[in-house]
């Protein structure tokens, strides 16, 4: 192995780590939703795509940087997620998994093709001023855009952690996740908590979309791949484990970047699905998840 290759490899790994942070944030939304209400959000990638399109539209029409539109998008997603949970998903909370799956599959189909009908099939990308800036870290060169996205993703994850550990609502949500019956008994409004949780999960994925558009173009056709990616990340990291989702995101980000370096994108899928199978079989609670009685 030459020094050149080692440098290229570490370059790829840092790039992967930065992108992986954003993946982690996306997966965090899924993890929160599934961890609390046991509903599989099969429309997760599609929801992120809306976030990407909104950030793109804000930049394209009004020249608002995604970093500025992000809080608004997150807020909008929180409201939309809250309403979606109250109207469509709540009635399905105790229904069998295949019915929940079909419901969210229908929602995903509507979102993906709604985006296609409105925005068309072309891939959309944005050109930020900071596109060609970079930070130097010793011999490594880091894209400014990716660094910013990763920092913001980390910041949001930290905010989320504070919310779940230090606020009343956050603690109540965790209580409802740990013991549904117990939460009802002590008088928590579990329905409202579920709606808030879905809102938070949606806000995460909306924010992730706003960050994602700064590094990857958006098309209406990739949403399903992102849904699957979010699943792999969450299962590998451990459902309900916030650090697990971030770790899973980093792993997938790095594997993607290294596969890109080696010139075979199939390697990324090989790695992620191979990892998924191994984790499912040997450690179904995920790398960082707690064991639970199922």
């Amino acid at each position: 192995m030459t020094a050149d290759f080692l440098l290229a490899l570490s370059q790829a790994i840092t790039k992967g780590l930065l992108t992986g942070m954003v993946y982690g944030l996306m997966a965090l939304g899924l993890s929160v939703i599934f961890g609390v209400m046991r509903v599989v959000n099969f429309a997760h990638g599609e929801m992120m795509m809306i976030g990407m399109y909104l950030a793109w539209a804000a930049f394209d029409a009004l020249q608002i940087s995604p970093m500025l539109s992000l809080p608004l998008i997150a807020l909008l997603f929180f409201g939309a997620g809250y309403l979606l949970q109250r109207s469509l998903i709540q009635p399905f909370i105790n229904r069998p998994e295949h019915q929940q799956f079909l419901l969210l599959l229908a929602v995903a189909t509507l979102i993906a093709n709604g985006c296609l009908a409105i925005a068309g099939p072309d891939s959309r990308t944005i050109q930020l001023d900071s596109q060609f800036d970079s930070y130097e870290l010793g011999p490594l060169v880091l894209d400014a855009v990716r660094v910013h996205a990763a920092v913001v993703a980390l910041l949001i994850a930290a905010l989320l952690w504070l919310f779940f550990t230090h606020t009343r609502t956050g603690k109540a949500i965790r209580a409802a996740a740990d013991n549904h019956m117990g939460a009802l008994v002590v008088g928590l409004d579990v329905r409202r908590l579920y709606a808030v949780t879905f809102g938070i999960g949606a806000a995460c994925v909306g924010a992730a979309g706003a960050l994602m558009i700064t590094v990857i173009p958006v098309t209406p056709f990739l949403a399903g791949d992102y849904t699957l990616l979010a699943f792999v990340i969450v299962i590998v990291g451990g459902l309900g484990s916030m650090t697990g989702a971030l770790l899973g995101g980093l792993l997938i980000g790095v594997s993607e970047a290294v596969a890109g370096l080696l010139g075979d994108p199939a390697l990324k899928s090989m790695f992620s699905f191979g990892l998924l199978i191994v984790v499912l079989l040997l450690r179904p609670q995920g790398l960082l998840g707690r064991k639970e009685q199922r």
């Binding site: 599989v40 469509l88 009635p91 229904r95 998994e97 295949h98 019915q99 799956f101 079909l102 419901l103 599959l105 229908a106 929602v107 995903a108 189909t109 509507l110 993906a112 093709n113 709604g114 985006c115 296609l116 009908a117 068309g120 099939p121 209406p220 399903g224 699957l228 699943f231 299962i235 199939a266 899928s269 090989m270 699905f273 191979g274 998924l276 199978i277 499912l280 079989l281 040997l282 179904p284 199922r294």
Partner: protein, 322 residues
Amino acid sequence: MSARLLAGLAILLALLLVAPALLGGYGLSVLILILYFAFVGQAWNIMMGFAGQLSLGHALYAGLGGYVAAGLYVHYGIGPWAGVFVAITAAVAAGSVIGYLGFRFSLAGVYFALLTIAFAEFTRIGFDNWSWSGGSGGLFLKVERGVTDLANLRGGPVLFYYVILALTVGAFGLCHLLLRSRLGRYWLAIREDAEAAQAVGVPVLRCKMLAVMISAALTAIAGVWNAFYYNNLFPETAFSIGRSIEMTLSPIIGGLGTLGGPLVGAVVLTSLGELFTSVGEALNIPGIKQIFYGLALLVIIMYRPAGLWPWIAARLGLERKP
């Protein structure tokens, strides 16, 4: 089964037998599609509807079956009537491995579904890079117009119509027998409460394995039929999650675990699909067909979560209340 239902089925079968003489090319192609989805839906229904194991990777068995039979035909001139047995063997072997791993490590629900997706994706990547099967460029069967060759399943839509009709009727009969057999009762017990079934002595692992194997075998046959009907195979579509999901829709919409469900679901969904295609062409908005389709799924799952067939059957007085 009530006498009314039996009479209805006899009339339906008689109509289906003479359908090619009555329908034009387009009508026949729609009917073929309906029967295909009814057949493959019945196969999936065995695993999910009867035994309660959610598979979202059934494209693996269809794709594997199709590739094996088509590959044998293209490379060695072995016809599908022999090839289908190799195809079934391959799919059953794959199903056994996935099923054994999943059940042995007691993965349930979404976890098991993700395992099936992962294996299907893995296989897709493998076939993408395997030159024997044509890689990502695809595998093609030679099309000769006007030739009808029963031995190699070469011919026009009418031939394929009767084959898929026979398969669908066969699957229907098989499922009818299975549901009434000891194995079928065991499946239902496992579906309702696997732990309780285990406790009263149902061989849970063996029954689940049989469900996967039978389901995979039927799905492989569908894959072989599909490969010879369309004359081409691509890893990107043959093993895609979209293909797997589309197999689950007819039984869920029609009525999971019921015999009539997959057929009713296939009729409703295929007709809606055709309707929305023409509406979409008229409106000329990209994605509009899928938007209508998504709305239809949403409405059905919200208002008839147990599926359409149980509701229809009750309305027509076709099924005795359990």
